[in-house]
Amino acid sequence: MLKIENLHAEVDGKQILNGLSLEVGAGEVHAIMGPNGAGKSTLAYVLGGRPGYEITQGTVEFLGQDMLELEPHERAAAGLFLGFQYPVEIPGVSNVQFLREALNAQRKARGEEPFSGGEFLKVAKEKAGLLKLDMEMLKRPVNVGFSGGEKKRAEMVQMGILDPRLAVLDETDSGLDIDALRVVGEGINTIMRAPDKAVLLITHYQRLLDVVQPDFVHVLAKGRIVKSGGPELAHQLEEEGYEAVAA
């Protein structure tokens, strides 16, 4: 599904990704762990196509397409979803309006019929219910006045509505209490655990991985994957720390 090869990227002239390679197959959940400043968010942004992140070497293939050729909105229509570490506030634009426009823009790009207001609301209600987010929140402007936890749950509602093939989730667990963590983790499982979907889960903590059990765990340090393994690697990291494991 996703094949990253020898990726080098820089921001503001500073090299951050240093030959990162990673392959994610359909039906798989991969966790990426690593110390602060390792380049995890940078990887997510590069995959999303954020302006200012310059790729100097390497390739990214997504569902057989050269992903680096696509504009950010085209990547979304192709099936990529980016869960932001810091979801962005958009004053004056309601979640409902934003997500309906986004979903229909994606559908249009794929040559599908747009959702009517009624069809959209039905899906939105279902996903909000799944993440235990009050439907009233979706009528409010995107992320404005949301608590940290609400923002993360709203991200997952967005993911549910947009129904991507690949979700790259950047510290979706940060800012969540234990109960919310379970809700979010189970939401990820319900929405993304399917044979034709995949997840790249960026996290610092084992506790999310207890709910969303990864098939593979990778350690990202200094801009590249320095170690890969199965779920046991996450436990080892938790016990011994990044330095010991990644050395």
């Binding site: 999303g48 302006p51 990547r75 934003f98």
Partner: protein, 249 residues
């Protein structure tokens, strides 16, 4: 409320951002020809304005407890100015929502002078500017609070979004306050469209032009938020955004 004896120049505070070429050939008699509106005590008058090329000047007197609302779209050029001089009696209110929107070399401005002449009057002014090309959007808002006009509440807010490098905006709040129990809030911010929001929206599948329109829609909506009639509010918004669709790159 002085008549102009000679044509103003950009050295006059009130005309500092005006188009000098236009000013040089302006018609003095026309400039002195204010449109007068009197709002009777306790009543509400709502004025909707589509600003046209040149200068339009309104002189408004709002009686005790009255309310004057002015909502305006300024999408004209090459020089388009709407000016309002509003005098508020006791407990009266002035509500102003204005949008300048345009590109090319258009110079679009709102100029207000709000006189709180008695206690307990309030005013609220919200101006939004969306400019591209080499266009300029201006808001000069002068607030005068006379001695004894206690419990005055005057608010002014100006924000501009510049879609291209050559565009610009100017805000000039001017406060002349001679009472001491006065609440006066003003803010001004000039910037580009929020790139972070733009990327966030793109990451959800919105093409840049759709994302931009949503953001500008939300931005402009601030100016018309105080319009009670929902249909009218929608029309004003649509009209402003239409300029973006038709003219912006």
């Amino acid at each position: 409320m002085n008549e102009l004896a000679t044509l103003p120049t950009t050295r006059d505070e009130n005309w500092r951002y005006a188009d000098p070429a236009w000013l040089a050939s302006a018609d003095l008699a026309q400039l002195n020809d204010w449109r007068e509106i009197a709002v009777p005590a306790g009543e509400t008058v709502c004025e909707i304005l589509s600003v046209e090329s040149g200068a339009e000047r309104l002189r408004v007197h709002v009686g005790q407890g009255g309310r004057f609302e002015l909502f305006a779209i300024n999408a004209a050029g090459p020089y388009a100015r709407a000016e309002a001089e509003v005098t508020l009696e006791e407990g009266a209110h002035f509500e102003f929502g204005g949008v300048t929107i345009g590109g090319g070399k258009n110079r679009q401005e709102f100029v207000t002078r709000t006189v709180h002449s008695s206690p307990g009057a309030s005013s609220n002014q919200v101006v939004r500017a969306v400019q591209w090309g080499q266009a300029v959007g201006n808001f000069l808002g002068r607030i005068e609070v006379v001695k004894d006009a206690q419990k005055t509440d005057a608010a002014q807010n100006f924000r501009a979004i510049l879609l291209e490098k050559g565009a610009s905006a100017n805000a000039k709040p001017e406060l002349e306050i001679f009472a001491d129990d006065v609440k006066c809030a003003h803010g001004a911010a000039i910037g580009a469209l929020d790139e972070t929001a733009g990327f966030y929206m793109a990451s959800r599948g919105l093409p840049p032009e759709v994302a931009r329109k949503l953001l500008i829609h939300a931005f402009v909506a601030d100016a018309f938020e105080a319009i009670e009639d929902e249909e009218l509010r929608g029309e004003m918004l649509a009209k402003a955004l239409n300029v973006l669709d038709e003219e912006a790159v």
